[in-house]
Amino acid sequence: MRIKILLLCLFLLLLTGCLPSNIIDDILMVEAEGYDYLGKGQIMGTATMPNYVESGNPGSQGAGLPSTAAMMRYISGVTYDGKSLVDKFQPEGQRQLKIGKIRVMLFDDKLARHGLSKQLDFRNRDPDTPRDLTLAVVEGSTREMLTAADYQTQIPVSRYIQDLIQQNSQQNYPDSDLAQILYSYYGEYMDAFMPIIQKQGDHLALVGVAAFKKDKYVMKIDGDDVFVFKMLFQPFDQGVYDYEFARGKHIALRNVHTSASFKVRNGNSSSPDIYARVKISAQVRQAFPGSISKKNADHITKLLNRHLEWEARQLVHRFQTYRVDPLGLGNTVRSFTYRFDGHSWPDRYPHARFHCRVNVNIVQTGISQ
């Protein structure tokens, strides 16, 4: 019996080390990938990885690694569209490249306009890709954005970009991680969108949202319109909307809560009616002196309602002319329509009538009158 157990233990010992292990100090974790389109199906790919080598311990003599022993920071090279950059760059990698914790994927606007179907298919197929991966379109070169050394911040640029986008998607920008993009890209009667970022001197800035038709970037939603887009797209609670109610006179509202509800009539007719009701509870952040008080809040609110309704209709109208549907209005119509006629929807979408009612409720106007 004892011999049997001994044999069993031996057997177990022999089995260790059968599978390759990934120790965090011994791999290069790719955290950001950037793709620049060169034309004719060729792309310039860039991958960056953070440095996990500990710096030399100043107190001890020669112990630890010298602070100069940094590992490589980025690789870039030319390959075909849709190629896994990790596989492509492995021959240049100092250590094994791993994709499991990738944070950011960037596409320059040329590639986005050319189409991302190969990239998205690859990301949907790969079990290692996390679904909270941030995707973005870059105005300018992604290679320059990822390899520039003149940022104000010292943290790796991949985290800088992800922080920027993730914290903004708590506010004015809509959620757009990989899960959301795959949902709307593969889903029927809706289209994907991604935030657009730009390198402005020594920092990065979000400059709008790129609306996709299938896999191609066709329309840009400007930074000013993003609030209106988000209020129709999802409930949120930390956005800021700046309203110019007369020339040179602004009111800025911070919304406490916003939600939109939809109703659809005649979903199978040639021009379906979509009714959106948006409720915004907001507080006044800044106001033109004397423009708002508890007494005349109603007046401003009415103006604001009309204005936001108009903006929303304009935005949807632009979507309809470009035939893109980042709001998923088609899916909304589907969910309200029995026996929904999906085949003719792309032809009916531009003729859909969008009605919007906005109801702003100013909960407070600040601590002074």
Binding site: L8, L12, L15, C18, L19, P20, G100, K101, N124, P127, P130, R131, D132, A179, Q180, L182, Y183, S184, Y186, G187, E188, M190, N331, T332, R334, S335, F336, T337, Y338, R339, F340
Partner: protein, 370 residues
């Protein structure tokens, strides 16, 4: 006239039937069932899921009737029923068929799990080494007897609770308007989905074999139904969440929707919840495999009394290893799973009612036992 009465020291309490049934029902289908269900009835797949689950209650009623009727004649399990009703030879052949069915079923089950491990985490995983190790574990459990197996089932049930609870983290990403419009599919597409939902509820029929090992079976009855309702609840939740989380176009492309939505759950320092969960799911595999190995080895012992259960078990485990090796790619795994879900359907929904009928006829012809 209690022939071959099981010694009370080997029996399980009535409540064990809850764990045994619930855990055997939740199987490899848990990872992937949303996709085939929503193929035919899109957003109404949860209705199919519900109907499938309720029909499993009906099957359980039939099974319990069958076993209770048999109780008067001696040991109430499927092997004894076969030999009593159909005689030694035909009954023996049926027993053999049952043994082979459950043996292959368990082997394919094991192989499907290995496939998921290979696809998601360890592409280099050797099937032989894994199955060999796993079979050692199963041998250890089965040699401990029915009580050890029952204990493993209890542990498995407890261990799985956080896994089900954790799916709540996928709720913020869900779009519940996907479930609308309700009931937009005709009976035909709904029934097709119900047919595909049957295989996720399979496993409860194993009570046909361990029923004599349950103490006070009349008290165990309600636990059997509770177990079925619990499974129904879990599957229904996962189905509704899956429909809300994925768009239909995305669902068509996703082979393992459950794992994919685990993928979107992340914690700091705990980035890939999907991988942890997949490995954790070995606890759903282990008890069912142990029970199947026990059933098959016991079946061999009862059918061929010369073979002792210990040696039968070695043979069974060897078959597991060989079958897992033979099924060499994902395509074959899918084919085998489709085949076994159809066979399982036939077993539960056609064979068991027929058996009940035969039992009734025999009772009418031969009369009540003395």
């Amino acid at each position: 006239m209690a022939l071959n009465k099981i010694n009370e020291t080997h029996q399980l309490g009535p409540m064990s039937s809850f764990f045994l049934i619930q855990v055997t029902q939740i199987g490899i289908g848990f990872f992937s069932f949303q996709q085939p269900l929503s193929r035919f009835s899109a957003q109404d797949a949860w209705v199919a899921c519900l109907i499938g689950g309720l029909s499993s209650l009906g099957v359980m009623w039939l099974i319990l009737r069958l076993l209770e009727n048999e109780h008067k004649y001696g040991r109430a399990d499927l092997f004894s029923i076969h030999t009593r009703i159909f005689g030694k030879w035909i009954g023996g052949v049926l027993n053999l068929a049952t043994i082979i069915f459950f043996m292959l079923y368990a082997a394919i089950y094991l192989r499907s799990y290995i496939e998921i491990l290979q696809v998601w985490i360890f592409p280099q995983l050797s099937i032989l080494v894994f199955t060999a190790l796993f079979c050692l574990l199963i041998a250890y459990i089965v040699l401990g007897g029915m009580r050890t197996i029952g204990g493993i089932f209890l542990l498995s049930f407890v261990y799985m609770i956080p896994l089900y609870a954790e799916t709540v983290f996928a709720v913020p990403g869900a779009h519940f308007s996907n479930l609308l419009p309700l009931f937009d599919h005709g009976p035909k597409s709904l029934l097709l989905s119900v047919f595909y939902s049957i295989h996720i509820y399979l496993g409860s029929e194993m009570i046909l074999f361990y029923y004599p090992f349950i103490k006070h079976p009349e008290q165990a009855k309600k636990w059997c139904y509770f177990a079925l309702l619990d499974t129904l609840f879990i599957y229904l939740m996962i189905m509704i969440l899956g429909t809300a989380y994925f768009s239909q176009g995305e669902m068509k492309l996703t082979i393992w929707p459950t794992v994919t939505f685990w993928k979107s759950i992340t914690f700091p320092l705990f980035e890939h919840v999907d991988m942890i969960n997949i490995v954790y799911m070995i606890w759903i595999l282990l008890p069912s495999m142990a029970l199947s190995a026990w059933i098959v080895s016991r079946g061999i012992k009862l059918t061929f009394p010369v073979i002792r259960q210990k040696y039968a078990l070695i043979f069974v485990l060897a078959v597991f290893i060989v079958v897992a090796e033979i099924v060499y790619n994902g395509e074959l795994v899918a084919t085998a799973n489709a085949l076994f879900s159809k066979l399982g359907f036939c077993f539960n929904y056609i064979y068991i009612p027929l058996l009940l009928l035969c039992q009734w006829i025999v009772k009418k012809v031969k009369g009540e036992p003395a």
